[in-house]
Symmetry: C2
Subunit: 254 residues, 2 copies
């Protein structure tokens, strides 16, 4: 049986560090926190009764250092950590072999969007695990299993694909909602009216496939409504309308 | 005080007829149902203990006939209804003056996506009301108020704008989710992994504005990740990625 991870130190104090830190604190001793942002690091450290380290070298020795920083900072953070220290990071898009090799290097990637103000039920969030060796991978798997019933071993390529799909269903969807908000604003109407529809659009997909859930003028071939909508739009919102309508019609034609 | 609507007959047996019929049946006598589709009309009639009429002319006389059919069928349905009969329809995109005038003609438009398999909480769904005269408009308002605490008088133009915004946050969002599903499928990965993210993306917007909720490589200006993502995509999914990334960057530049 592999040794379990009994203590963690965390580098980072953003949304992911905040949520993982709080969640793991219920199960594993969080020794210390370091972040470039002293203020949010201090808040998180206080929240989970951990030591707030002023430098990476001041972190309390722990079974694992969990790096929750932006993708482009992982490399420089890693350089400051002794090579015999076990390390995992939380990024979807940084491949394991893109980083300098160490014996215990791994990934624990939750496919979710986090913001500090919102509690997220981690229990159904998928966590993707990868590591430089199987024993360490199993340790990270067991650790993620403390939080979620959806823990999956996945390669760096899998993870990058998931991250890209995540950009589409989160970043791009959110931006469409933004464009719709802008359009209503230009026409002196309240954004709030859209909230129940935005919610139900997502809830429907918890039990239906997007192909079956598709409705509207594009899939109905209602060219009259499409033409009228295009005449009501301008700039890139019009372009977005056009390309997405064409794409719907391409995929739904008999 | 205006007379209240005490009885309804419904034309249509699709998703909207199904949901409005069931919801109103808890408050108002639904006399009869007619639909071209005899099977679903019969189901709905049985569900809400209404008479299933074989022809429009066989509908039981009622204070209101509620038309819940496709936009392009409203005109021909209206022609078969005596001119002194009060009528309302549920469409977002058909303007009141685009239809032949009658004394009591109105609209009761719920901004929501309906499917028979899913219960929707109508209480927070906005209903938009318009009519050819104020007394009838108030009657429709009161009727909608039985189901929802968000009832709003709105012009045909307002309604068309809302419908267009609805296409963006529902039809187009759903299609982005479809494209993400397709991408994962091509890479032998499960669609299910995306469900918690899709849900949280929508839930976040119940309390945050889309502009503040925006995250990801485009808003961070992470050109390296964007380039890699583009190299992983093909065809119109790539085009969609490009145009939405440009649009995010345009709106979020300092």
């Amino acid at each position: 049986m592999s040794k379990t991870i009994g203590s963690i130190s965390i580098i980072g104090s953003g949304n992911v560090a905040h949520h993982l830190g709080k969640a793991f604190a219920g199960h594993i001793k969080i020794n210390s926190i370091y972040s470039r942002n002293k203020e949010t690091a201090n808040e998180l450290a206080e929240d989970i009764h951990a030591f707030h380290a002023n430098e990476i070298k001041d972190l309390i020795p722990s079974d694992l250092i969990l790096i929750c920083v932006n993708d482009d900072e992982i490399y420089s953070v890693l350089e400051q950590i002794p090579e015999n220290q076990s390390v995992a990071y939380s990024s979807g898009s940084v491949g394991l072999t893109e980083l300098p090799h160490r014996f215990d290097l791994g990934v624990i990637y939750p496919l979710q969007t986090f913001s500090k103000a919102r509690n997220v039920d981690l229990f159904e969030v998928p966590f993707f695990i990868e590591a430089t060796n199987e024993v360490f991978a199993q340790q990270l798997f067991d650790m993620a299993w403390l939080l979620s019933r959806k823990v999956i071993f996945a390669t760096s390529t899998d993870r990058k694909n998931l991250h890209l799909a995540g950009v589409m269903v989160n970043n791009f969807v959110n931006h469409l909602d933004f464009l719709a908000e802008q359009f209503l604003k230009q026409n002196s109407m309240e954004w709030d009216y859209l909230k129940p529809l935005i919610k139900e659009t997502a809830m429907k997909l918890q039990s239906k496939r997007p192909f079956e859930a598709q409705t509207g003028p594009a899939v109905r071939g209602d060219q009259k409504t499409i033409e009228r909508h295009l005449s009501m739009l301008q700039g890139e919102t019009k372009e977005v309308y056009q390309i997405l309508t064409e794409s719907i019609q391409k995929h739904h034609k008999a």
